[in-house]
C-alpha cells in the first residue's frame, strides 16, 4: 500500500542518542509487548534474547576524560539493495522476508527451521536464536499477549517493529473505512515507552511524519552504512566520537571525511 505521496511506506526510526539515557525501558517494553522469554540467568548476553538491546559505548579515554553513550539497537530492517537485506536474501526457507509495502523485515517463526544463517549474516546481532525452550513459571504465562505468537525452541526471532500493532491499527482503520494510518496510530512499544522521548518512529517516506525531517539532521548517521545494508534506523548524536563509532574507518579516513565536510 502506498502512502498519500505515492511512495511505498518505509517505516523507520530516528533515535536521539543525546537524549537516550540507557535506562532500559525500551528493552523491557519490547520484551513485555512481544512475549520475549526469559531464563533464570540472563547474564550471558550472547544467548539472551533482547530484540532491543542498549549498547553502552565509550570514547575509550582514561579518567577523567571518559565519556559514555548508550545506543539502542533494534532490528535495523535493512533495505539492502532493493530489499535484499543481509538476512533476507540468505534465508533458505523464506522464513524472513522484506515487505515492500511497509519496509519491514518479517520473521516467521513457524517457517524458520533454525539454520541460523541469517544470524551469521546480520552484522548488528539483531537476531536471536531460541537456544532454550521458553518457559514461564507457573502463572506467569497469564501475562502473555495474544497479539504476538509465542516462539518455540530452535528458531530465530528478532524485532518486528511491533508489526502486530500495525495489523491492529489497520484493522481499526479498515473498520472505519480508511486505508491510511495516522502517525500516532502505529508506534512501536519501545517508542511509546521511552521516558526520554529519544525514539521517534514513523514512515521515512512520509513528509507528515516526524522521522522524515529528523533523519536529515546533519548529525544523523546509521550503523555500518558502508556495508550497504541500507538500514532504516537512524541515530542522531551531537558528539563526534559517537558518530564515528557508528561505522568502521581505516586510519585517517574519518578525519579526511570531516575535513572534506568543512
Amino acid at each position: 500500500m502506498k502512502n498519500e505521496q505515492g511512495k511505498p511506506k518505509k517505516y523507520g526510526m530516528v533515535v536521539d542518542l543525546d537524549k537516550c539515557t540507557g535506562c532500559g525501558a525500551c528493552m523491557v517494553a519490547c520484551m513485555s509487548e512481544n512475549n520475549v522469554p526469559f531464563k533464570a540467568d540472563e547474564s550471558n548476553k550472547r544467548d539472551s534474547i533482547t530484540w532491543m538491546r542498549v549498547y553502552k559505548i565509550t570514547n575509550g579515554k582514561p579518567f577523567p576524560d571518559t565519556e559514555n553513550c548508550f545506543l539502542p539497537r533494534p532490528c535495523m530492517h535493512c533495505e539492502g539493495q532493493h530489499g535484499h537485506s543481509p538476512c533476507v536474501s540468505v534465508c533458505p526457507a523464506t522464513a524472513t522476508d522484506y515487505s515492500t509495502e511497509t519496509g519491514i523485515v518479517s520473521q516467521i517463526y513457524t517457517r524458520c527451521f533454525g539454520c541460523r544463517y541469517c544470524m551469521g549474516a546480520c552484522p548488528y546481532h539483531a537476531r536471536h536464536f531460541n537456544w532454550w525452550d521458553p518457559v514461564w513459571p507457573d502463572g506467569m504465562e497469564k501475562s502473555l499477549s495474544p497479539n504476538v505468537s509465542v516462539r518455540m525452541r530452535g528458531i530465530v526471532e528478532k524485532c518486528s517493529f511491533c508489526f502486530h500493532r500495525y495489523q491492529a491499527a489497520m484493522d481499526k482503520a479498515m473498520m472505519e473505512g480508511r486505508k491510511e494510518l495516522e502517525e500516532s496510530e502505529y508506534q512501536t512499544s519501545c517508542t511509546q515507552a521511552c521516558p526520554s522521548g529519544a525514539i521517534t518512529f514513523g514512515d521515512l517516506n512520509n513528509p507528515k511524519h516526524a522521522v522524515y525531517e529528523l533523519k536529515k539532521n546533519p548529525n544523523a548517521f546509521r550503523l555500518l552504512e558502508r556495508l550497504g545494508t541500507n538500514p532504516k534506523v537512524y541515530y542522531v548524536s551531537s558528539r563526534e566520537w559517537v558518530r564515528r563509532a557508528g561505522d568502521n574507518y581505516i586510519k585517517g579516513e574519518w578525519e579526511n571525511k570531516q575535513n572534506a565536510k568543512k
Binding site: 522464513a95 522484506y98 515487505s99 502486530h164 489497520m170 484493522d171
Partner: protein
C-alpha cells in the same frame, strides 16, 4: 562370458520360470494393504472426535436475528473480530429458558446460571502464528462469511469436532478430504488456500523474495 557368469545367468533364468506370477501377486497384496492403511485406517487413527458441550442450531438462530451472522459474530470497536460469542451476548435472550429444546436447558442451567463460559470447540480455529483480519476480508473486500466458513448458518446441528492427534488442530483446517482435495472454497483453510485466493484476486504482492504477499500480512 566366463563360466562363473554363465552359471549365474542360468540360475537367474531358472528362478524366473519357477516363480510364475508370484511376485506380481505379492506386490499387489502389499500394495492393497498399504493403500488400505494409508487411505482408510490412517485418517481414522489421526483424528479424535470430540462432541461440543451441547448442540446448537445456527439455522434456528439465523432466523431470529436481524443482522445475519454479524448479529452474534460481530466486530469490536477496535476492528478486531469477536469470533464465537461469549456468555454475555447470549444472556440477552437466554437469561431464562425460552424454548423447549433440551440443549437450551443445558445451556441455561449449566452455563448461564453458573456464569460459566461455554467451552466451544472452534472448527475454524487457526494456529497461534496466524493473524487473520476479518475486517480486511469482510469490510474491505466485502467477502461473504460462507466463502471461507461454508454454509454454516444453515446448519441445524453442530458436527463432531475432529482433532488432529499430532498437531492439535481442527480437521477443518486441512479439510475433510485426507488427500487435501477441495471442491469448495471453504473446504480447506490451510495457508496455501489463503495464498491461492490472494494470488487469484491480485492482492498486493509485497514480498521481494517471492513476489507474492509478504509473510507479515497473515502472520504474527
Amino acid at each position: 562370458m566366463g563360466t562363473e557368469e554363465k552359471q549365474i545367468k542360468h540360475a537367474a533364468d531358472h528362478a524366473a520360470e519357477g516363480a510364475g506370477g508370484g511376485p506380481i501377486l505379492f506386490f499387489i497384496i502389499g500394495l492393497a494393504i498399504a493403500l488400505g492403511i494409508g487411505w482408510i485406517a490412517f485418517p481414522k487413527a489421526l483424528y479424535s472426535q470430540k462432541q461440543q458441550p451441547f448442540d446448537f442450531s445456527h439455522s434456528l438462530h439465523n432466523g431470529l436475528v436481524d443482522n445475519g451472522c454479524e448479529s452474534c459474530h460481530f466486530f469490536r470497536e477496535d476492528g478486531s473480530y469477536a469470533g464465537v460469542p461469549k456468555l454475555a451476548q447470549c444472556i440477552g435472550c437466554h437469561e431464562d429458558v425460552q424454548g423447549s429444546t433440551p440443549e437450551e436447558k443445558v445451556f441455561v442451567e449449566e452455563y448461564v446460571k453458573k456464569g460459566k463460559e461455554v467451552p466451544w470447540l472452534i472448527y475454524s480455529r487457526q494456529p497461534d502464528c496466524v493473524f487473520f483480519s476479518h475486517a480486511a476480508h469482510v469490510k474491505v473486500a466485502k467477502m461473504k462469511c460462507e466463502e471461507c466458513h461454508g454454509p454454516i448458518g444453515e446448519s441445524k446441528n453442530l458436527k463432531p469436532y475432529e482433532q488432529n492427534r499430532i498437531t492439535g488442530y481442527s480437521r477443518d483446517i486441512w479439510g475433510q478430504n485426507i488427500a487435501g482435495i477441495k471442491t469448495h472454497t471453504y473446504d480447506r483453510m490451510k495457508m496455501d488456500d489463503c495464498a491461492d485466493c490472494h494470488k487469484e484476486r491480485g492482492v498486493k504482492a509485497s514480498s521481494v523474495q517471492t513476489e507474492r504477499d509478504a509473510c507479515f500480512v497473515c502472520h504474527k
